[in-house]
Chain length 394, copies 2
């Protein structure tokens, strides 16, 4: 609740876009809390922060847990930051109980998970996992043309360690589910066995600007009408792969965006997700078919460029078992679940043994200022995280 | 082509914004040409210019024709100025042929038709018709805060006659069509029977922001999906009133406009036009019916607010017949047409018997420096104007 006030939203949530002043203030507070818990801080050259609690054998790679601190423009109080603070709570609990683990333990905070200021999402964990180059990440621009690297420097979080060089023995990430499944099944813990694949597309439709009064309906080349048909078709593509397929148009802009001019150009984003890469390909094929049809019937050009392809991920058996064992030991009702959202853990799992822990959130609502979770469920998630980390750290 | 060089555009068109130095230079040249043609000049207190050629009976109200000299910022060489020079060509032709009409004839040039420097458009013809007060017109400001009245004074065109007091027996306005209909139908002359009515609406749809990955399709309250269905329905509403009904969504914005968040809110503009106010009402009713359906099926709130209602105008039967008769006499291919755009004639017709003559323009393109029209079509428009004015003037 204290950190939710750093970059407060207008309607009870948070607004801490990546590498803004609000992000910096959140980082400063997090670093202060970690130091108060006795941790030492390392920052890498993507701004990822590692806070270390030594173990008995500091030659062992640390057991790490964390998430992200940035939010959506209208973000909630739990998405990301819950996983960071759950890891801090684990450290504080070990301190309170004077427990020294065999391997060191660390809290991690990954830069720019949301991707709402700099696309794509999960960029710093992606560089860590070798999925993106540092140069690519550095050159990403926000809507004002500011680059990620300049903003990282500006807020003082461009560290020296090369991103990816930081050793990690195992990674856990606790997170709110951001969906309605655990709540519907009345389960406190989701044992996350993997994540959906996602593909992102930038679509630009070009027709012709013309006068809204003197241009008859027949003969118009209205890019927004074409786009609206595409949005409808994308819905059907997702419904055809129910219940696991989802598809979303989250961004749209039109030109010239004038009340009495037929829009000549539209940009929109497409996000499709499925646990199977084969089904994702089918959904993409269906998208291309629809686009070809729209090109012809609306006499608009349509450029569809894939800007990101994240294949489905399967988490590490041993880490997943550690989570499940912890839930059983603590006697929390639990179920296996596939993550619909992308998470930093879904990137890092390609190079580090990884698992995730989900807790329910109210009505599955997330990326929304009304996002909410129950203290008892958040506590259950922390306890499962503690025991899973202890199992791996010794 | 000579006057197009007064305030030349960068790409072959013209840039003569109302009451700028370029507008003054254009007016000076126009007045010089009128005087060379033997006309006397009267200027009213909105800067409208009347150039008079006496008739046999100068107690009769003059038969007047003209248009405007100002342009859009990236205007063409024909929009407005064609109608002013077509009227001058009529006067020169009468001089060349030593014809004296019964009633006097006049050329009119209306101030600030475009509205791109001082909003709203057609302001001086609107004052003439009693639709706006002089005080309202005088107080309009450009983007630098300069008022219309001060700029009128500055360029020396604040006349003494009270705007609206100038007698007019009948008014004709020749203009490029600014749409594709005449070109498509291979007709040289459009006999304009009136102007479309327009209604403008602001529509806001509110659903719920939520996560694009973890929110199943069923249960979403996606405001952009709802909006896309509305845009499709608005198309059908217009097509149901073909060929005269048109409807356009020119502006759209979504919130939070983030690639991986289901949009919770959408704003869009709706512009519907039809020559019949009754049909406009039917179109509005159909819009409300669709909105009610969308509210229910998408579980979104939809607020639809009318922000402007401009009733259709119907031109004077006798003036319209004079135009049609002239086209028949001269054996030009022609058709009746309704103006989709607003024109000075659509204002003045409320107080004076009025009609318009359209000529084709290339690909219907206007408000664009590439705007073009063929000399043969422009000549046809002048000939029709000559004969229509002669019929009315005697």
């Amino acid at each position: 609740m204290a950190i939710a006030q750093v970059g407060p939203g207008d309607e009870g949530g948070s607004r801490r876009l990546a590498l803004t002043d609000e992000d910096k203030d959140g980082r400063d507070l997090f670093v202060q809390w970690c130091k108060q818990a006795g941790c030492s801080i390392t920052i890498d050259d993507l701004g990822n922060i590692f806070a270390r609690r030594p173990g008995e054998d500091n030659s062992l790679p640390p057991i790490v847990s964390g998430s992200h601190l940035d939010t959506q423009p209208h973000g909630g109080k739990f998405d990301g930051i819950y996983g960071v603070l759950a890891a801090l709570e684990v450290i504080r609990t070990l301190n309170d109980n004077k427990i020294t683990t065999q391997a060191p333990m660390e809290i991690v905070m990954w830069t720019n998970e949301e991707g709402s200021r700099f696309a794509p999402a999960m960029i710093a964990s992606g560089v860590f996992a070798g999925l993106f180059s540092k140069e690519f990440a550095y050159s990403r621009e926000d809507s004002d043309g500011l680059t990620l690297v300049d903003e990282l420097k500006r807020i003082g979080y461009l560290g020296e360690q090369v991103c990816g060089d930081h050793p990690i023995g195992a990674l856990f990430e606790a997170h709110i589910e951001q969906g309605p499944i655990l709540e519907a099944n009345k389960h406190q813990i989701g044992v996350v066995i993997g994540g959906q694949g996602q593909r992102w597309f930038d679509v630009t439709l070009k027709g012709q600007d013309s006068h809204a009064g003197s241009t008859p309906m027949v003969g118009r080349r209205d890019a927004l009408v074409a786009a609206s048909e595409l949005i409808q078709a994308i819905q059907r593509i997702a419904y055809d792969q129910a219940p696991h397929g989802v598809a979303t148009v989250g961004e749209i802009s039109v030109s010239p965006n004038s009340r009495n001019t037929i829009p000549g150009e539209v940009f929109l984003s497409v996000d499709i997700r499925n646990p199977s890469d084969g089904v994702l390909s089918e959904m993409h094929d269906a998208l291309e078919t629809v686009i070809a049809h729209i090109r012809e019937t609306h006499r608009v050009s349509v450029d569809c460029k894939e800007i990101w392809h994240c294949p489905p991920v399967i988490f590490d058996q041993k880490c997943v078992s550690a989570v499940r064992n912890a839930a059983v030991t603590a006697n929390y009702s639990h179920q296996d679940i596939v993550s619909g959202a992308g998470h930093d853990a879904c990137q890092v799992c390609r190079v580090v043994p990884t698992a995730m822990i989900f807790v329910p959130c109210e009505e599955g609502l997330s990326h929304n200022e009304q996002e909410n979770a129950e203290p008892a469920d958040l506590e259950a998630g922390c306890n499962v995280l503690l025991h899973a980390m202890l199992e791996m750290a010794g």
